[in-house]
Symmetry: D2
Subunit: 293 residues, 4 copies
Amino acid sequence: MSIDSSSVDSPTQAVVLVSCPDRPGIVARLAATLDEVGGNILDASQHTDRQGETFLQRVHVSWPSVNPEPEEVHAAMQELADQFQMDWRIHWGHAPRRVAVFVSREDHCLHDLLLLQRDGSLQCQISLIISNHPDLEQVADRFDIPFHHIEVAQSGDPESESRQLSLLKANDIDLVVLARYMRVLSPSFIERYPGQIINIHHSFLPAFAGGRPYHQAYEKGVKLIGATAHYATAELDAGPIIEQGVIRVSHKDSVKDMIRKGRDIERTVLARAVRWHLEDRVVIHAGRAVVFA
Amino acid sequence: MSIDSSSVDSPTQAVVLVSCPDRPGIVARLAATLDEVGGNILDASQHTDRQGETFLQRVHVSWPSVNPEPEEVHAAMQELADQFQMDWRIHWGHAPRRVAVFVSREDHCLHDLLLLQRDGSLQCQISLIISNHPDLEQVADRFDIPFHHIEVAQSGDPESESRQLSLLKANDIDLVVLARYMRVLSPSFIERYPGQIINIHHSFLPAFAGGRPYHQAYEKGVKLIGATAHYATAELDAGPIIEQGVIRVSHKDSVKDMIRKGRDIERTVLARAVRWHLEDRVVIHAGRAVVFA
Amino acid sequence: MSIDSSSVDSPTQAVVLVSCPDRPGIVARLAATLDEVGGNILDASQHTDRQGETFLQRVHVSWPSVNPEPEEVHAAMQELADQFQMDWRIHWGHAPRRVAVFVSREDHCLHDLLLLQRDGSLQCQISLIISNHPDLEQVADRFDIPFHHIEVAQSGDPESESRQLSLLKANDIDLVVLARYMRVLSPSFIERYPGQIINIHHSFLPAFAGGRPYHQAYEKGVKLIGATAHYATAELDAGPIIEQGVIRVSHKDSVKDMIRKGRDIERTVLARAVRWHLEDRVVIHAGRAVVFA
Amino acid sequence: MSIDSSSVDSPTQAVVLVSCPDRPGIVARLAATLDEVGGNILDASQHTDRQGETFLQRVHVSWPSVNPEPEEVHAAMQELADQFQMDWRIHWGHAPRRVAVFVSREDHCLHDLLLLQRDGSLQCQISLIISNHPDLEQVADRFDIPFHHIEVAQSGDPESESRQLSLLKANDIDLVVLARYMRVLSPSFIERYPGQIINIHHSFLPAFAGGRPYHQAYEKGVKLIGATAHYATAELDAGPIIEQGVIRVSHKDSVKDMIRKGRDIERTVLARAVRWHLEDRVVIHAGRAVVFA
C-alpha cells in the first residue's frame, strides 16, 4: 500500500478524524470498524490529552480492492460514534477544498500559495482572492484567479464584511487564508467560519501580538524573530497555533531588514499550516491545535 | 489513559515492534490481537516502505485493568506473526536495558549520558564505562559506575577487543554507546552486537566520514557543521543514521572553534538517539533507521 | 551616519575590498587613507586567514560632506596597495550589477529572485533569463525580462554555450545565477566568469554532489536535507561555498516530499548568496568563500 | 597575526570598547591612536545605532613587537575620548574575570559552565557557587569550587542578600551568573552590579516572562519553546537580551517533556552569553545588548 503520505486526493481514500472520551479498546474498535467496511488503514496517529480525558485520532484509509460505499462507511462510523460518545468527521479524497485568500498589498505569501497549489503541493482549489487594495489584481490575473477589490474603511466595517461574506458563500468556500491581510475581521465574521480561517501573524506569538510586531521586536532587541500561523478567533492573535518558525537577527538588522528576513518565515510557516489543514492533519482541542504532521 | 509518551517503564506496559509484508487489514488485526489479551493501545505509529512491500509498526501497549500475562501475549503475537510472516519483538517496561559506554579522552558526551540517566530521561542502567585512556576514571567514580581502562594499541586489536567483549558479556550488556570513542571496532566485534552499537560521528554524514572531520569541514569551507548518531556496521561511518544536527559556522571559526561548537551538537544528537533506541522507537529496515519519534 | 547596513546604492558610497600579506598597522593605514580622501567608514570587517599570512578586509565608505572624486580615491588606494602588496577593488554604489539568470523548468528559485529584485532586496538589474527549455518564458514576460530559449543537446555543448556567451557579452553581464539550471557548464565557460557564477546545488555539499541528490539522500536515510549556494568552478559542485541551509526530514518523507521541502531551502539559500555577492560581502580566498555578512 | 578570534588571554592583548556621538572620521582616528601606541588591530566591529546618533566599536588589539605600556595606552585613549565625548573601557588579556554562579537545585547549566571553564572555553575564574539549597554542594566539590548555602526565605529577603553581597565583595566578583537560580534578586542587589548579572530565563522572552514558563507554553500550545539569556535589571525578565534559542515541540510533549527538551537550550544559550560577556563582545546601549559575536 505504497502511498505518498501527503497525498489523499483519490476517491478511494479518506481521512477520518475522531475525538471521544478516552477508554481502553478504542483504537482496536475503530480499526475493526474500518476493516469491516473494506477500508485499509494506511496511517493512523492518535493523541490522548493531558488529563487523559479525551482521545483524538486521525486515520488515513484506503479502499484497495473495492470502491468504498460512503453511506455504508458513514453508517458504521456513526454506530461506533454512538457507542463511544465520539465526535467524528470524514473527508473523502475526491473533494478538494475551496479556498479564498485575503490579501492587502504584500504578495510574498500569496505567491507561495499560488505556486504550491499549481505544483500540486496544496490539494485545494483557490477560488478567489479578496483584497482591500487593488494592487495585487495583476498577480491574480496571471494565475487566472478571480480577484475582488473590496475597500475596507476600517477593520470590522460591516458593509465590507457583508460583501466579503457574500462572496465566500457564493463560492462555497471551505477555508479562508489571511495571507498578510492587514485588516482585523470582526468576531461575527470569524464565528461564521470556526476553525476555517488561518492567519499568518508576523511574530513569534504570544510575543508581539497586535500591530507592528517587527517594530516591537526591534525595540525589545530580541535575537530571533518569528512567524505564527494560527486559526483566527474572536480574540485577536490568540487563536490555536498551527505552526511557528524563527530566524536569527542581530543588532545589525534594522526594522526594514527584519521585515525582509521575516518574509521567508511568514510564507513557509503559512504554507505549511495551510497544507496540514487541507490534509486534515489539524484538530482543535481545548483551545490548542493538535497537528498530526 | 494519560501517559507520558516517553515513559514505558512500568511492568504493565510494553512496546511491540513488528515488520511484515504489507497487506490490507494488518493494522486492524494487530489491534484486535492486543485487545484480546487485555492490552490497550496508548500509541501506535506505522510506516510502509517505498516499494510498499514492508509494513512496520511500533505499538505502545498498557494493561489498564489486569496484569498482563506475558506468555499469553507472546503466544497471541506469535500466532498472528505466523499468519502474516511477521517479525516481531516485545519489550516489557520493567526491564531497563543495560548499557556500556565506550570513551576515550573527551567527556562531554559521557557527562550528558550520565546526567540524563540520573535525571530519569534515559531509561536504562549504565553498567560500565570502558576506555582506552585512564583520564575519565574520575568522572565514572563520581557517578559510581565501574570504569575499565583497556589499552588499545591500534584499532581492532584482537586482544583488547577480546577483553572488551568479555566485559560486555559478563555484564549482560544490551547496548553499547560509543561516546567519542576514538578507536574503530573490528567488523567481528560489531557483528556480535547488530543494531546494538550506537556511535556519534562528529560530522554531517555522509560528508566527512573517517578521521578529523572538523579539519575536513574547515578545509572545505562549509557554513554548517554537524553530528550524526548512527548504528555501527562493518563499514566505517556508513551504518543506519538515527539522528543528525547542525550548527552554523563561518570563516571566523578556526578548527578549534568548530570543535568547541560541535560538542553541543554531538552530545545532544547522541543523547536523543540513545533515548529513542531505549524507548524502542528505532527500527532498522533496508539499511536505514526508521525512527518513530 | 545612520545607514541601512545592506544598502550601498548611492553614488556617494562605495565598498572597498582588499587582501594583502598581513602585517601590523594595516587597518590603521587603510582607515587613514580613506579619511584623507574624504571618506567616512560606515562599516568594516576584516579576517586574517589561519596561517596568518593574508589579511582581508571589506570597508563600506561614504562621503558625507563632499562628492567623492573617484580618480583621487583610486590613486590613493593604489599608492597604499603598492606599499602593502595589496590586491584591492572598489565598487561604487551607483553601478548596480547586471545579472543573467539561467533556468530549466523549475521556477521557485527564479520567482524568488524576481520578487526580491522588484522589492529592492537585490541591488541589481536582471538583464536576461536564459533557459534550455521554453517553459518559463511566461514568467519572464510577467516581469518584462528578455527570455532566451537556447536548447542544449547535452551539458557543455559548444554551440549552445557559444550562443549563451554571446548574450552575456552583449548584455555586459557581471553575474550569472544558475537558478536550478539542469545542465553542467563546461570549464571553458566557467573560466570566463571566475567568481561570477553562483550555482544552487540541492544538497548539503560535499554530501551528494552530482545528480539526483534527493534520491541519494533518501537512499542514505539522512535526517536533514540541505542546499548549497557556491561559486561554479571547473570541478563540478566543488567551488567555494557561500551559504548553506538544512531542513529536517524523516522516514515518512518520500523523494517527492524531499523535493518539495527542499525547494524552500534552495530558494532562500540562493537568494541570500546572491544578495551577499551583490553587496560585495564575499571574497574568495584559498579556495574558500569568506562572507562578511 | 594569526590569532584564535575568541582568545584574548594574553598580557599583550586587550579589548577596547568605545561609544560616542557618531561623526565622520572616528574609525580612522581610533585606529591611528592605537597604532601610535604600538597596538595592532586584530579585529574591529562597529555599529551605529538607528537614529545615527551613537557610534559603538569593539577593537581587539595586540602588541606584536613590544610590550604595551598600559599607562601610555590609557592616556592616549583618554585624550581621544575627550575630543570625541567618548565613553571607553579597556580589558587587558591577563586579567580573567572572577565569576560567581548562583544556583538552586537544577545543575544542567552549572555543569556546562564548569566543564567549559575547565576546557578553556570560558576565560574566567569561577570563584564561588552560591545556592539557596544544599543539593549541589557535591558538584561544587568535584570541581573544587567553594560552595555557599544561603537559605532565602523568600525572593529579595534582605538578610540573605546581604550575606550574598558580602561574599561577592569579599571575592572581588566581576560577573554573577544566575544558572537557574529560582529566586528573584531585589532591585537594590541588581543595581550594585549593573550589566554584570546574567540570567537564563527558560522561555523565548518577551513571551512567558515570570514563573512557570513551560507551563505557560504548554497551555498556549506553542510549537517552539525557547530560552533567553539576558542581563538582570530591576524589572523582572525585561533586561537586555544577549542570546536566545528555540527547540521544536508538539502536542505530544507534556510539560515534563518540554522541561527536558528546554534544558539543552537553556545551557547552550547561557554558556554562549557568558562567553560573549567574558570576551567583551557585549555592549548595552539604549536598553538593548549589542553583541559583536
